[in-house]
Symmetry: C2
Subunit: 185 residues, 2 copies
DNA sequence: GGGCATGACGCAAGAAATTTGCTTTAAGGT
DNA sequence: ACCTTAAAGCAAATTTCTTGCGTCATGCCC
């Protein structure tokens, strides 16, 4: 008894997962996403196709996994000593990363192969965490700070919406303006 | 010379297109999206699979087409005699349509099979048009009105962002609040 | 109104992909 | 060290996708 499902984070499973993710990244760069196939990834990763099908279901879910990995922020947002500067800079960087062709591709992939919406939720959580860090720092300095949800609505959402639906004419200045308006108005 | 590509809007092409679209809608309702395949749609539409592959490329682009058709608004927004009421009601309806399981599925499909981003742009244009109608009406009444772009950023974008990335806990009240804040603050 | 050029569809064969049952491997607990 | 079992390998069966070619119907011109 007491048989909880076995979790095996270290070992072969992990090696396979990494090999497959690496293969996806390499092949995406080499042949481009439209030419990418599961058997191709499997061959590069030194794995049988059925392994990929069983673990990920299909190419989209695999791409979604890889995309989310890339979308995870690597460091907390820079500290400029004042919330307005923090947020302005972060928003500009965020837009530039996400609006680039590769950024947009990752976002689309992340949303795409994600029936449960788990990966999408994760992306949103990353952004919320970054915003939360900036707000907490500012509050610690005694600044008056808005809600995380407010900043999501006023800064993150417009940037994401425009990237997904109207990618033309996006500039860093737009992101900075959103940040300013979120704090002043 | 002077041979522009022949467009044949009436006739067989159109019949095939409608038959295929209808088949997609019916089968989506009957067997669900995950089970849907191109050969299945072709059979229902009384068409060979190769026709679908040639015209649409793959299932995702077809689904994207069908989705955009459903996302097109059927009527201009209701007129309540005051911008605040117009916008509040419209935002609430918009959220409720888009946040439903079928609405979300359509949105995802529209974004999904759309390498060029044309369909996504179309969706955004629909929303902008609806907003523009309300603002023009209000301006005609002498009300002071914000920019279309502002309303997009403050109302449409947050709703869409949350539907795509954090579908939990969305209510009509949230949409109404966004509308109010877009006009007052 | 009757041909003509052309784009779209049907058909069928071939290639590629996905699925699936069974076997083998190796991680982790006893 | 041994067992148990999740996960990977392998290969056959199935399904989907691609492609070349013949046919059909539409829109234009006479």
């Amino acid at each position: 008894m007491s048989r909880r499902p076995m979790v095996r984070p270290g070992g072969r499973s992990t090696r396979v997962q990494q090999a497959v993710h690496t293969a996806v990244r390499e092949l995406q760069a080499e042949v481009g996403r439209p030419e990418l196939t599961v058997p191709m990834v499997a061959a590069r990763a030194g794995v049988t196709p059925s392994t990929i099908y069983r673990r990920w279901g299909d190419l989209q879910e695999l791409l979604s996994d890889v995309a989310v990995e890339h979308l995870r922020p690597e460091a907390p947002p820079e500290d400029h000593g004042r919330l307005l500067d923090d947020l302005r800079n972060w928003a500009e960087q965020f837009l530039e990363e996400m609006a680039s062709p590769t950024g947009r591709a990752y976002m689309r992939d992340a949303l795409l192969g994600d029936p449960e919406g788990d990966n999408a939720g994760l992306c949103s959580a990353y952004a919320a965490e970054q915003v939360g860090t900036m707000l907490a720092r500012a509050a610690g300095r005694g600044e008056e700070v808005p809600d995380v949800e407010t900043v999501i609505d006023r800064v993150v959402a417009p940037v994401m919406y425009r990237i997904l639906f109207r990618p033309d004419g996006l500039t860093g200045a737009y992101a900075r303006r959103l940040a300013e308006e979120a704090l002043t108005r």
